[in-house]
């Protein structure tokens, strides 16, 4: 069981959340200009880092907002959470 700190609601158990994969992957500004390989890379390829990881979570059963969690993928330690507004 992870205790995930929603930036709005505070710490809640992970049952309330949906995982959204690696964070900080911007949508290409002009998808039509990409090759199929570049588009597939954007859609499917992720780093699967060991250790410090920035990832997206949605507080599905709570405030229903997406935000960014920093987690150590080895120890599952939660290192912090932020809204998208904070990181821009």
């Amino acid at each position: 069981m992870l205790l995930i700190p929603c930036p709005w609601c505070g710490p809640r158990e992970d049952d309330e959340f949906t995982f959204g994969g690696e964070a900080d992957i911007p949508r290409p500004a002009d998808p039509d200009a990409l090759t199929d390989e570049q588009w597939a890379d954007y859609l499917f390829m992720r780093d699967n880092r060991r250790g410090h990881h920035r990832e997206q979570w949605c507080h599905t059963a709570g405030c229903r907002r997406w935000f960014v969690v920093e987690r150590d993928t080895v120890t599952n330690e939660i290192l912090g959470a932020s809204t998208y507004g904070d990181s821009q």
Binding site: W8, G10, R12, D15, A61, C63, R64
Partner: protein
Amino acid sequence: MSSPTPRRSPLGAIESVQHPPQEAQLFERPFLTQINLRLDPADSEALAAIQLVLGVQLPLTPNTTAAGQELLAAWLGPDEWLLLTEHHQPDALVTNLQAALTGHFASVVDTSAGQTVIRLSGPSALDVLARGCALDLHPSAFPPGACAQTLLARAQALLIAVDAAPTFDIIVRRSFAPYVAAWLQDSAHQFDLHFPTSDTA
């Protein structure tokens, strides 16, 4: 003209929840007006216009409610609220809110028929809820006026702390209401609650 279809609340078929004895600590509050409101909290003009209509300021602190004379506003998200009232008809309130928000980026949706309110009260209420809810709902952590959307027995629910009895309003989707009511009745059997026995509805 055909006569209007009589209204039926989500728990209307469950006699013990619908017509509880005086001492009951679990019952439905049917047919409350429930409006989902979304707007940008940075739009101070819209916030002021809404306050004029509702007579209460929308709560901007997460997981809190604001109570006016006739209406309760519950925080659902940084740009989303639930308005609960028995003093305004849904159509009239929606019309007034939409008029107040003309020209603003906002949404007003009548959800009155989509969800219902179950009230649970009494000293055992905390124990009844604790069997299916991970939140600390003790008044020291979840005082009157607090609210939280969470899972109750795996069903999505909005919990509102009404008073320190403690009394909770539990707002669930219409289709989940019979299940949640049955679960609450079952959970309550573990405790010394003044509580009507469950019907086979």
